[in-house]
Symmetry: C2
Subunit: 213 residues, 2 copies
Amino acid sequence: MASTTRRPSTAAAGRRAAAEARTLDVVERLLAEGASFTELSVERIAAEAGLSRSTFYLYFRDKTELILRLAASLKSGIFQVGVEWRADGIADGLEGLAEAYLQIIRHYRRRPATYAAVLEVAGYDRTVRDALQAGQQRFIDRIAGRLAREQRAGRTSPDFDPERAAQVMAWGGEQVIARHVIDTEDDLEEDTRIANELAAAHWHGTYRRPSST
Amino acid sequence: MASTTRRPSTAAAGRRAAAEARTLDVVERLLAEGASFTELSVERIAAEAGLSRSTFYLYFRDKTELILRLAASLKSGIFQVGVEWRADGIADGLEGLAEAYLQIIRHYRRRPATYAAVLEVAGYDRTVRDALQAGQQRFIDRIAGRLAREQRAGRTSPDFDPERAAQVMAWGGEQVIARHVIDTEDDLEEDTRIANELAAAHWHGTYRRPSST
DNA sequence: GCTGCGCTGGACATAGTGTCCAACTCTTTG
DNA sequence: CAAAGAGTTGGACACTATGTCCAGCGCAGC
């Protein structure tokens, strides 16, 4: 039996990829329609995506994989905002910070239900929580680096630990943005106000904190 | 049949109250031992509390009632801290704020697993989420009042909305404290550092934010 | 010592998860 | 074009939960 096995069909691979994408879309749609991820059954998801439940389990290890993939796609693109802002010079300062926060808010605004679902599952699933935390750590590192530079340049108080301050801003800021986006209707003006408030609080509270002397 | 019914026994009422308290204690113990509330079954809880599952459902409407009662007992006492701090004059200023935050952290430190469980359930149960939110709103109102006074006295920038600023601090601050308490071991020094950092960020970022003129 | 309250154990209906497999269909390939 | 393997399906299974219901037991109170 030389090579009795047949090469995996590329057409099939394509169909499968399409089915997976369709499944993820379906989940996002159902979430947007008000379902909570927890109460969404695999039965329902598979049916709406046009697959049998068995096939669902061929494509995804379990329900958690769905949310992990949604989380990944939700977060991709966000980090870019941080990069742009951090490129000292272009749009730096308080205005730049506010603009960056606004961009993050607008990013999540496109898929608030998905964001809510990811946070919901993170509450009881370690895998998801760890994935989120890893992504957030990259942010914290960048902010800490920037704060250290500000301190060296004498532009903010030297009396705090950059890592801890970055952590406080990241944790708090993410929560503020999450609750705002999830709990309120889409409204560019209000988003701008929240972005400005958060930026001002962080700017004067940390990036330009007066020395205690 | 005049009064065939017997007066409800006070002894029984006492036993029942004791059993309920025991049940809540058991849940907290199991949570502290590492269980997540979601994966804790009523079967298990009832058994450990020495009741039958049927009796559990006589005492508690459902699992959610457990977490609601734990949330209430966890939150009671916290508000007091805010009151003390807000009594302008005694331990006011940055040091007072840091002290208040430290007290809040130390409060949650006594029952971190319970705190984690409450937040976990809040992620997917509207009842619990609403209960938490209601409590937080009281905080926000107080802080907003204080900020408005600071603005009138010219001690902080008049260019922000006190309500929104209070919301940002409360949402962010609560998250910072929650993650710190839940994710790290009990350590008074580190707790103090986080309390100081949070206080400084809020103080300079909001309570004493420079005017943008 | 009667009697009814409080509690129990166990059964039930319901609903979900994840696994497994025989059978079917569709696609590739010789 | 037809054989055969790849891909998919439906349905059954074993589990684990939740919340409801009820007959009956034993102890407390009269």
